[in-house]
């Protein structure tokens, strides 16, 4: 269910950015989700499709890229790519890490149609 909370925050940001760029319509939204966030892309997409109705993002495509995690051992500072169920450092055999990448959900880009673009198209 956390996918719904995430898309709510995402939509707020997308609409704000779209508005400040005088966008008429949002066509595509690109996000990166760290593997540790355990996002299920299908649920996320369904949540997105249900939340964008009656906004300028209605009909937009949500592109999700899942990025791997990088852990840094707090004991020996070894950096490695952990599995979601295994944070064991192979150097010191402790599981005491900071996740330095792959724990975020980031908005990367928004593709939208602006008033100027529409006017140019109309002129064509």
């Amino acid at each position: 269910m956390h996918e719904f909370s995430i898309v709510s925050s995402l939509l707020e940001q997308v609409l704000e950015i779209a508005k400040s760029n005088n966008a008429l319509k949002v066509n595509e939204v690109e996000i990166e989700a760290g593997v540790i966030r355990q996002i299920v892309p299908e649920i996320m997409t369904t949540a997105w499709e249900s939340i964008i109705v009656d906004t300028i993002a209605d009909g937009s495509v949500l592109k999700i890229t899942v990025v791997p995690a990088i852990a840094k051992c707090r004991i020996c500072e070894n950096q490695f790519e952990p599995e979601i169920d295994n944070y064991l450092c192979q150097k010191c055999l402790k599981a005491d890490v900071d996740i330095i990448s792959g724990n975020d959900i980031m908005l990367k880009s928004i593709d939208c149609q602006t008033l100027n673009e529409q006017e140019e198209q109309d002129e064509d």
Binding site: H2, S5, I6, I17, Q38, M106
Partner: protein, 225 residues
Amino acid sequence: MKIKVIKHILAANDEIASLNRKKLADADVLGLNLISSPGSGKTTLLEKTIPALLPERSSVIVGDLQTGRDAERVAKMAVESIQINTGLSCHLYANQIQSALDDIDLAQTDYMFIENVGNMVCPGEFDLGENVKVILYSLPEGDDKVAKYPTIFSVADIILLTKCDLKPVLDFSMQRVKEDLAKLNTRAPLIEFSSKTKEGFDEWLDWLRKEKREHVGRQVGFVKE
């Protein structure tokens, strides 16, 4: 037009969480986020812990989908006890804690216990501004839960294995839990605990006081890392 953005999607929640953390720090209060499945004994733990910590005082914020029952249970012993009904939301948000903190006398509070909605997935995703995450895991849930919910156990600062008084009647492999945790989190202490028999209770109280000293001390600059 493609607009490049690099923005944390949960930035709004995280920013409020930081404000909550600062507010607690300014008042020398330790913030604890209690996370577990429903029915693992979070409220019972608080009923036993709050009186035992006196003269240090505690306030409680409880998140549940419905009812004010848990807040009522701890109301008599806490400085303040606030219930948040989350409706269909399966976790608390930082802004809910922010508004609850406005109603809590932090000058009279040493420990701010936040009892999250019973759920082993979503509460781990949303920073509330706490200093530590306390994970409760009760014996009747079975010995496979660390492996099944790795993320929440990997971020735990302490794990309380509750209802340990049921050990004699359950086929629960402590060894399996320890082996699974050895791959996920060797930082958090694992305490075999029972609110009924008080097994592990002194260890839990010692840990709370140690965290209070370390976090509050660190925030006001007494302890150097």
